[in-house]
Symmetry: C2
């Protein structure tokens, strides 16, 4: 994948702002510091200070927190175009860890470069702020899911959210998408046991709504799944740019 | 309370950036559009579009989402100096509602004014981005709490987080603080029943850790409560400014 207008980050931020040439060029320059990370090796660990942020260019990752008793909560999953650890640059110390779910390619954005970008390219900064707001809206949905949705609605909502996010960067749609998450990832993300995850996926499949098998999610009845999950994608704000060109 | 250097918002943002005169003056100007709201009347409702954001100047509020089945999840509580609906200006449609918990005073920030501030005063914008990142870190903690902490640790963590946040704006500390939350608010925030909330508060009191009675939280054994909750306030990033003066 090339940098610039074709990169997932540029595609994503373009949903918020029509980016001008110097803004696109700045995003391209970011792509020079591209690094590879292997599955299972944390990019950023909980408690680490003054680290870089990353933009995921290819592959999947997840952010998580581990409790003193060893239990783990996955906070969110990251797909191409997503920031990893953006919040931690501003808050100085990472409050969570990032783990590659597949082998990944990620663009390193040094803490000082990011602060410079934020304070010197305000329109781009606002677009990044939009992306961060969207990330927060997703964490809010996950909180509501764990607090108030039953296991089937929680799973359905999570799979539909991923479909909408992937479609924004050209990696999926209403038919389905490739998904490297295991039942253990789903369990840690949804606050369920792995056995419960299996049972819920079987129920959704038997109802003819969705099948998750061999690394692929297939929607058999997209609208039925939306109804079950009470899924309203407004919080993802993918309907076109708010900031016009400048 | 006067505007400018004494306002809770200025106090809070000063923990991130040493603000210069024009930045402080801009925050003062915001304070001109000050409005009062009564308990129980929502400021912003779920699904509302193109609304203003608010900065809470006095009193307490909460953000929440209601599910189709009528259950409610409180996402966070807001105290003086906090933004209400900042995310919704960028995302255009509010993904949640805000309700005053007490009578409140709030500064209205029109959507266009906020976008102008973000794109024209980048250092102030970065400070606001910091505040939003901190809000997100709190939602993440609430997610981890509901997903992975038992009821006592969840309650202890929540009460300690509020103490740290209130101390930043001069409204509380390690002794305790005034707190207008009812057992119903605590239940909706922590994913517990009101009866369960009562039982947990009684346990914490009988262990000599904390008493919440007549609108006041008193820490009897602050360090013991920190241990029980495994509370590490690093995510609140209150240790002093990252951006120096300019």
């Amino acid at each position: 994948m090339t940098a610039g207008t074709d990169s997932p980050l540029t595609r994503k931020l373009s949903a918020f702002a029509l980016l001008n040439e110097s803004e696109t060029a700045m995003l391209e320059r970011l792509h020079e510091r591209r690094r590879s990370f292997s599955v299972g090796r944390d990019l950023v660990y909980q408690g680490q200070s003054r680290q870089a942020a990353y933009v995921l260019a290819a592959g999947w990752a997840c952010s998580y927190k581990v409790q003193a008793d060893g239990t783990r909560q996955i906070v969110d999953v990251q797909i191409p175009g997503d920031f990893l650890g953006l919040r931690s640059v501003l808050l100085r110390t990472s409050d969570h860890s990032f783990e590659p779910i597949t082998d990944i390619e990620a663009i390193e954005v040094l803490s000082d470069d990011l602060l410079k970008l934020l304070t010197q390219m305000p329109r781009l900064a606002t677009a990044i702020f939009w992306a961060a707001s969207r990330d927060e809206a997703m964490v809010v949905e996950h909180l509501v899911g764990i607090g108030r949705r039953d296991a089937a609605a929680r799973m359905a909502h999570f799979l539909l959210e991923l479909a909408a996010r992937l479609s924004l960067v050209g990696l999926g749609g209403r038919d389905g998408y490739d998904c490297p998450l295991t039942q253990y990832h789903l369990a840690d993300a949804l606050g369920l046991s792995a056995i419960h995850v299996n049972r819920v996926l079987r129920q959704l499949r038997e109802k003819g709504l969705v099948t998750f098998r061999d690394g692929h999610v297939s929607f058999e009845d997209y609208d039925g799944l939306v109804t079950l999950a009470d899924f309203d994608p407004t919080y993802l704000d993918q309907e076109g740019p708010l900031l016009s060109g400048a």
